[in-house]
Symmetry: C2
């Protein structure tokens, strides 16, 4: 594997070379200047893909559902689909959620389906910044639908899912407590709720809980509908795919799609600026000076704001940052 120049790799990926695409995504995952170059090159080529986030707790059946969605999309042999499986692994416990994604490898030999798992590796800003970059690459590579599957409903997952045009939150019957626990976060992120495994008892209660939570907010453009599916049989998946398309249509007509995307780009820009400046400031200050500041703080001779003043003074060449 000789190292091809980044512009050549991106051009090949955009032209449909899947091996090149995989290597470009590895650059994105790794972060750094090559990742930035990818972003610059891929960005003008995209904008057409419908990005769909699928999130929910482990065990909710996201992978089976994604698998069924792929099957349905691929019934029309002209339609291609990409899946980005994102794993925000915790620092202490590590990520062990990739196992059930193996199921999706059924599609490994179908050239119309591209599946990729992604962890954060060294990417500056982590998955919250790596994911939108990877989505842009898949978008530029001509996939009309890009599915982003994430595990969990914590803040990182919500940010990652928020990088999609349409976010589907998967819950199960009997999950009253889990819903109660994450109510605010769920309502914030969901465009569509899916009660998966709805052949089990308890769907009504979950639907009632969700409806109650939804009633607490005004929904001028789109109130998240609550659908029911059974992953293994594919029951309800056709309706889900049609509602996903409806959502995109509604967003587009109302002008909300352009607004959402612009807001996302603005947030991303602010985060890139913050992370790059932070890195630059810490570099300018130097490791030994930084360690001195840490020691001073630990001894309570220096508070974090004054320490920040010192770093900013060095990095910006002024007294008060």
């Amino acid at each position: 594997m000789r190292s091809r120049p980044v512009p050549e790799l991106v051009a090949a990926a955009v032209d449909g070379d899947r091996l090149a695409l995989a290597r470009v995504l590895s650059l994105v995952e790794r972060g750094g200047p090559q990742s930035r170059e990818v972003s610059r090159l891929a960005f003008p080529e995209g904008g057409e893909a419908h990005t769909v986030g699928i999130t929910g707790a482990p065990g909710a059946g996201k992978s089976t559902l994604t698998d069924q969605i792929i099957r349905l999309i691929r019934k029309d042999r002209d339609s291609q689909v990409a899946v980005l499986a994102v794993d925000p692994s915790s620092p202490r416990t590590g990520g062990a959620f990739l196992g059930d994604r193996v199921r999706m490898q059924d599609h490994a030999t179908d050239p119309g389906v591209f599946i990729r798992s992604m962890a954060s590796r060294g990417h500056l800003g982590g998955l919250a910044l790596a994911t939108p970059e990877a989505i842009r690459v898949l978008d530029a590579s001509g996939f009309p639908v890009v599915i982003v599957e994430t595990v969990g409903v914590g803040q990182v997952e919500i940010e990652v899912a928020g990088a999609a045009d349409t976010t589907v939150v998967v819950v199960n019957p009997g999950w009253g407590d889990a819903i109660q626990a994450n109510k605010a976060g769920l309502i914030e992120v969901a465009d569509i709720f899916v009660i998966n495994k709805s052949d089990r008892p308890g769907s009504e209660e979950v639907e009632r809980d969700l409806n109650w939570a939804l009633d607490q907010t005004m929904w001028p453009v789109w109130r998240p509908p609550i659908l029911r599916t059974v992953g293994p049989s594919g029951e309800g998946v056709e309706e889900l795919v049609s509602v996903i398309a409806d959502h995109r249509g509604t967003l587009e007509k109302s002008g909300e799609l352009a607004e959402r995307r612009s807001r996302r780009l603005t947030d991303e820009l602010a985060e890139i600026v913050a992370r790059r400046l932070e890195l630059k400031a810490l570099e300018t200050v130097g490791e030994s000076r930084f360690d001195e500041l840490r020691t001073e703080m630990a001894a309570r001779r220096l508070d974090p704001h004054t320490a920040a003043d010192r770093i900013l003074a060095v990095s910006l060449g002024s007294e008060n940052g």
Copy 2:
């Protein structure tokens, strides 16, 4: 209420003036230069308090438990305690979780108990930065125990709870799914697990689930114990308070307490630097130029990294940031 100078207010708060303390905390909540001044003044005065985070989903019984812990601490009339109730309210749904904290107002007339709710308001960096500052003020004011109560187990809550020396995660019988959903996050943040409402059926299953999750990791210094409590009767609370003290003792002996605190300060410092540089960069670039960049990005003529380059070029006076 004439406006007293910040140093005078902080000195009064440190001397035990509760009204001054409340006003200092309002400054912290609001953020800005006065908040930084507070941080600078309060920091050298503290370091003795044992900070205890109590987190868990809404309905877990955190407030009742906190109430019982306060009662127990206050049995010894010389011992004072402060409670910081932190509400990371979601942008769309708003925070509506303060209701059940009213219960704690039983202690409103007890001068040995200080209770304060906190939202993020305009604080730069939000609650993740405002909370450690508020804790430092309470610490400097001489409270030997500062309890930080947060709602939920998302990323923000974990960050907030991580600002404590000892973090107690409260779960309930029958919460297998909620635990499964947040396994990685829970294990990462918990020093002590409490199965509250343990008089209800299902405690064994929750304990088994937690133990299984704990078994996946090595615990060289302290393996989080799993306790059982019944909030309203106070059953198990005495053991909880004693285990909280044990945890602090173990951390102190192993050197982990100093290390944790130093790590927290370093993370806080990096975050302050990032947020202040971001703010400064956006100010330097100016609103109209920033709006231009947004428009260019929305039209896909400019990718976020190149936009960041332009901002960094203006703010740092160089080409590549």
